[in-house]
Subunit: 123 residues, 2 copies
Amino acid sequence: MELFFSALADRTRLRLINLMGSDELCVCFFVEVLGTNQPKISRHLAYLRNAGLVEPRREGKWMHYKVVEPSDPHAAHVFSEVRAWLTEDPEMRRDRERLIKVCCAPQPPVLIQGAPKPASLTA
Amino acid sequence: MELFFSALADRTRLRLINLMGSDELCVCFFVEVLGTNQPKISRHLAYLRNAGLVEPRREGKWMHYKVVEPSDPHAAHVFSEVRAWLTEDPEMRRDRERLIKVCCAPQPPVLIQGAPKPASLTA
DNA sequence: CGCTCGCATTCGCTAAAGCGAATATGATTT
DNA sequence: AAATCATATTCGCTTTAGCGAATGCGAGCG
């Protein structure tokens, strides 16, 4: 229970959860959108993984992360409400817009060239 | 938002919130039931106060604390779900039973003799 | 098969959290 | 007014969290 809330008690991790939305997302997009270094992202994703809030999937050399529903019903309920909460935060909104912009750019940033785009944006 | 979750990311603070339930409670009861020193309780109550989750009320030399509904609707929703969650935790359950036992004892512990009992137990 | 690419982990370091012991504060009692 | 009581705060310390820089590692590519 404390682990669960500790995982949510950090802005970077909240931003990661927000960016995943309901799809999985490639790590390089997190790095690009949050505009920070890669080890930082990776560490926070590991934190979320240990807390059981997120699951990785390998696709060639790329790693994708997606949000996973907690097994405990109360945790699940709280978590889904938190994700709805994120939707209304201004910074979170900006992050999501930035993700779209980055994906759809005719000349995408070097960091994400060739990376598998999120399914929700290619469909 | 991080402040909110940080406040919940500590077992002692969760136990305090749990003990308040829906009534206000005198500080000395927290000390007695958690079986720890007084400054520790006081510091954690201050933390909850700063996070806006709790409100103090003075009654003579006694201080009472009660849970307060967060102004943000999302926070309020999450918070109430968290409090329901606490209800089912074994340690939290034991704490509440211990509170009742301590209040109703014919010879209460010295620490709480003369302290105003929680309204829910005197009614 | 060596090289690069994407990501994970390790390494020092700094900052913050939590703790018990001691002390301060503010209200009551004597 | 002094002593006492309930609570808050401060102090010094230890532990933990978060950071950037550097390094490790598995998967694809030349």
